[in-house]
């Protein structure tokens, strides 16, 4: 039976037991129609009800008019990966409505603009037609606002239908438009209007409902880009050079906002940072190398196309040994690809970026917490190893909102590496090591010492930085011995890095099956493991947090009969790198690959493992 009284076509939607706090809401709208605020409010209200929730924005590479979808997943068990099946569909976009309806599972609830007459499309779902366009005329008098505010009505309708707390909606609304009283008022009228209309006209028929829990106490909700920005700010970043590109722009833009607020010198009131919008990514890379060379903590943020453009400069950073942090918020490649979709497609090419023999340190956060902590870590690694360090995020992690425990204040200082800053330090250095030689391995770890330009008035402290062959004392050299000596030291330095990069996180022990994942795949993998466990398939897992691999990874592989490597890319990039790492154990590895631009979901992982296990 359909949900509304006047409905003619009888629905055969199953009316199973009620599904509480464990379903997805999928909202289909057009881009630029203001639906983002509506969706945020809905999600935040659920969050405030103490129910674990996550939100994903599937948006087009366009500013206005193209279809866009927002998925809110409530999960009492705290799973926040994408979920394939949709419980509640809200259809506001005529262009995609028919297809949207077709893709939901039987039993779903479908809220839609009644003019669209979707109810004829199938009879195994619960239809809730709503006269949005009529309602908005009644509720909003300012004609210019109507296009934006109409989306608030569905918030009210859905809230009533799913049992969202009205008060929490109101709180979420205030938060969304903080201080803007007029906006709050208009939108509240729309939300309330939707609620009231639904209450009076709809009859709840679907099984989906929300109930207050207590799982979110103290938690925050934040996107990975903002989280990384906080990390950068707390790491004391000095110089930021960037060029806008989706999905990385908001990292820089959040950083600008945070720094403007919190990074003023208390005495002079002047900024303790400089953020420059460069003319392109080559320039951004050049600027951060210049800044890193001169002693600043410097970073840039970009996505795939920018990484490619930075390639030559990154090789210089590697070879001339200059610290810099580069965020790659990965999107779908190759080339321009799908700029607003997610992928982990740059792992391999970034690991060996630039001509000649070179590998780079990559750190790979898997949650907003890690976006925060590993960003700080990246600066330490860059300065410790005097080399460009990449933070490999992705669009899903960077641009979507995630719940998290509040970020802890850092409990330690920062590592600025082997820098000689003052005349006193310089004489201590020369006393200890006889002389200062910029590229000499005096400590046996492959890492040389460096001075900074303009800091020490001593002829022996200055050195010349170049991307061409050089001796330990930084003199130009084409001698084969000098070249080899230097390259071997760089290898040694990389081996040292292997012991210092963030170690993988291992969960479980003793299972015959292992899973290896990294980055945003973790959400889906953890959910898949839980489901598989219920199904009787126990797994251990190892989450990679950095390249080069630390020794734990190889050990983990050797301890499991079969190890499923989960990649969000076509070519199984991490799988390939692991195959190299694993040596004879490579035969144990199996590859699960997801690469359609949507975030990974648990089912894909489960299917992959079940296929491999021949279940």
């Amino acid at each position: 039976m359909s949900a509304v009284l006047e409905e003619k076509i009888p629905s055969e939607a199953p009316l199973g037991p009620s599904v509480v706090n464990d379903f997805s809401i999928h909202v289909a709208t057009a881009n630029g129609s203001g639906s983002q605020s509506s969706n945020s409010i809905l999600m935040r209200a659920i969050f405030q009800m103490g129910i674990p929730v996550s939100g994903k924005n599937l948006f087009p590479s366009n500013i206005q008019g193209l279809p866009t979808w927002f998925t809110i997943r409530a999960s009492k068990d705290g799973f926040i990966a994408r979920r394939r099946d949709v419980g509640v569909l809200i259809c506001m976009n005529p262009e995609t409505a028919h297809e949207d309806v077709r893709t939901v599972h039987p039993g779903a609830a479908v809220i839609y603009e009644e003019n669209l007459k979707l109810h004829t499309l199938r009879n195994d779902v619960h239809f809730y037609p709503v006269p949005f366009s009529k309602l908005v005329l009644e509720l909003v008098h300012d004609g210019k606002l109507r296009r934006l505010v109409v989306n608030m009505i569905y918030v009210g309708v859905a809230a009533w239908l799913l049992n969202v707390d009205r008060e929490e909606i109101q709180k979420a609304l205030s938060k969304q438009f903080h201080g803007k009283e007029k906006a709050i008022e208009v939108n509240w009228t729309a939300i309330q209007g939707g609620w009231d209309w639904a209450e009076q006209n709809l009859k709840k028929a679907d099984p989906f409902r929300l109930e207050r829990m207590n799982k979110n106490a103290g938690k925050v909700m934040i996107d990975g880009n903002a989280a990384a920005a906080i990390g950068c700010m707390m790491a004391g970043v000095n110089v930021v050079a960037w060029y806008p590109i989706t999905p990385s722009s908001s990292l820089a833009e959040s950083l600008i906002d945070f720094c403007r607020e919190y990074r003023k010198d208390p005495i002079t009131g002047k900024p303790t940072f400089a953020i420059v919008q460069a003319e392109d990514e080559l320039a951004a890379a050049g600027m951060i190398l210049g800044a890193g060379w001169a002693g600043a903590r410097a970073m840039t943020t970009t996505s795939g196309p920018g990484i490619s453009l930075m390639s030559e400069f990154v090789g210089l950073g590697y070879y001339a040994e200059i610290p810099a942090v580069i965020f790659d918020v990965q999107r779908v490649g190759p080339s321009t690809g799908l700029p607003t979709r997610t992928m982990q497609g740059d792992i391999l090419s970034t690991y060996c970026l630039s001509q000649g023999d070179a590998f780079h340190i990559l750190v790979i956060p898997a949650s907003v917490e890690e976006c925060y902590t590993l960003s700080m870590e990246a600066f330490d690694l860059a300065e410790r190893f005097q080399t460009p360090v990449f933070v490999m995020m992705d669009l899903d992690l960077g641009m979507n909102n995630w719940m998290a425990e509040p970020f802890p204040y850092p409990d330690k200082g920062i590592d600025r590496g082997k820098v000689i800053r003052t005349a006193e330090e310089f004489s201590a250095h020369t006393q200890k090591y006889k002389e200062f030689a910029r590229y000499r391995d005096v400590d046996g770890d492959g890492i040389p010492w460096r001075t900074l330009p303009g800091m020490i008035d001593n002829p022996a402290a200055a050195y010349f930085t170049r991307g061409s062959g050089h001796t330990e004392r930084a003199a130009y050299s084409e001698r084969p011995e000098d070249y080899k000596n230097n390259m071997d030291r760089l290898s040694r330095k990389f081996e040292t890095a292997r012991l210092h990069v963030p170690k993988p996180v291992v969960e479980g022990e003793g299972s015959r099956i292992g899973v290896v994942q990294y980055g945003s795949s973790d959400f889906a993998v953890q959910e898949a493991r839980a489901i598989l466990k219920r199904k009787g398939i126990a797994t251990d897992c190892l989450r990679i947090r950095a390249l080069p691999f630390t020794p734990e990874t190889r050990h983990f592989i050797s301890q499991h009969e079969r190890v499923y490597v989960v990649d969000q890319n076509r070519d199984g990039q991490m799988f390939s790198l692991l195959s190299l790492e694993a040596g004879p154990d490579a035969a144990r590895l199996k590859s699960i690959r997801h690469y359609d631009g949507f975030p990974l979901d648990a089912e894909t992982v489960i299917e992959g493992i079940e296929a491999g296990e021949k279940v």
């Binding site: 600043a296 210089l316 330009p453 008035d457 130009y476």
Partner: protein, 347 residues
């Protein structure tokens, strides 16, 4: 031509340093290369200005010209970047430490060919640095192909003729708002020295486009960037005098024939006009001069345009006096209240 030697400089400068302390490594350029002459004038200018050597940051790209930063002031750090992209590196270095006295040396290939984009944006930002283009119209280091400043119709040794117009770096610089634009010739040492000292005193990008013959690949008869051609054709528009802020010299001069430009640091450039009507502080004159010269195929040298009061990029950013690179964690990590405030806003 104003190539007569200056009176011998005093053996030590205001810091008590002698000129040797502004020297660098031995040049590995071809004997007679114009670039080496410029290196000597740079050394001399730093010496005479009494610049603190370790504060000097020497930036360059790739090319014979770009190598020369290793040949002066080796008490300062040097940075040989990748080809054509030195401006970005210099920008980053200055952001990190604006107390550096930054000098960039580039070539015409490095600046006008591969580097055109970064050059444009460097000028637009007006980053405080001295930017010298050692302009020989060819790629010296890769054996003499034409660069984008090769004059229309000029010929390579091999007989190949350039049929594209030259990029006029000075005109581009003025168009993009550069506040110190000069053209010179490595054979005109006195002028070059004066212009260099002015450039060091200027706060903002100071561009010196210096014709610097490549004796190996572009110094033949039919070249328009040869010593002979430049010597024969050079028309200085002024005689350059420079009075540093730390020298208290008052000279009477006739404002009709001499233009006095007060620079940011209190130094003065005295331009003894060789073109009666030329006003180096007037942009329209500067354009007209350059285009007239282009039409006529004239090789004019001197301080073409100067605008000493223009705000530079670092001032616009409002950075504190202490270099960012020298800040401690205490200064740059916000306290727990800040983090808590942010977290609260996300609940």
């Amino acid at each position: 031509m104003s190539s007569t030697a200056e009176p011998k400089a005093p053996p030590s400068n205001r810091l008590g340093l002698d000129v040797k302390q502004y020297g660098g490594g031995k040049s590995t350029l071809c004997v007679g290369c114009g670039h080496d002459v410029i290196t000597r004038q740079i050394t001399q200018a730093f010496f005479e200005m009494g610049v603190t050597p370790h504060k000097v940051a020497k930036m360059s790209g790739i090319g014979c010209s770009s190598k020369t930063t290793a040949y002066f002031v080796d008490r300062g750090h040097g940075f040989n970047a990748v080809h054509g992209r030195m401006p970005a590196v210099a920008t980053g270095a200055m952001l990190a430490n604006h107390h550096l006295l930054t000098i960039g040396v580039s070539g015409d290939g490095d600046t006008a060919s591969i580097g055109a984009g970064q050059f444009v944006h460097l000028l637009r930002r007006n980053l405080p640095m001295v930017y010298i283009v050692e302009n020989n119209g060819v790629y010296g280091l890769t054996k003499g192909q034409f660069s984008a400043t090769a004059d229309f119709g000029s010929k390579l040794k091999s007989g190949v003729v350039n049929d594209l117009p030259a990029i006029d770096l000075c005109a581009m610089a003025i168009e993009l708002g550069c506040g110190y634009v000069a053209r010179s010739f490595s054979g005109d040492m006195k002028q070059l020295l004066g212009l260099l000292k002015g450039a060091i005193a200027h706060r903002g990008t100071a561009l010196l486009d210096v014709i610097s013959p490549c004796v190996t690949f572009n110094n033949h008869e039919s070249s328009t960037k040869s010593y002979k051609w430049a010597k024969d054709h050079e028309i200085p528009i002024q005689e350059i005098g420079f009075v540093p802020f730390f020298e208290d010299i008052h000279v009477d001069y006739d404002p009709g024939t001499t233009q006095d430009v007060a620079l940011h640091d209190g130094s003065h450039i005295r331009l003894k006009k060789l073109r009666a009507d030329y006003d180096a502080m007037d942009k329209t004159s500067a354009y007209a001069l350059l285009h007239e010269a282009k039409e006529k195929g004239e090789f004019l040298t001197g301080l073409i345009y100067v605008e000493p009061e223009k705000k530079d990029f670092l001032s616009l950013l409002g950075l504190p006096d202490q270099p960012l690179a020298a800040m401690t964690l205490e200064q740059t990590r916000p306290g727990p209240e800040a983090l808590e405030q942010i977290m609260e806003s996300l609940r």
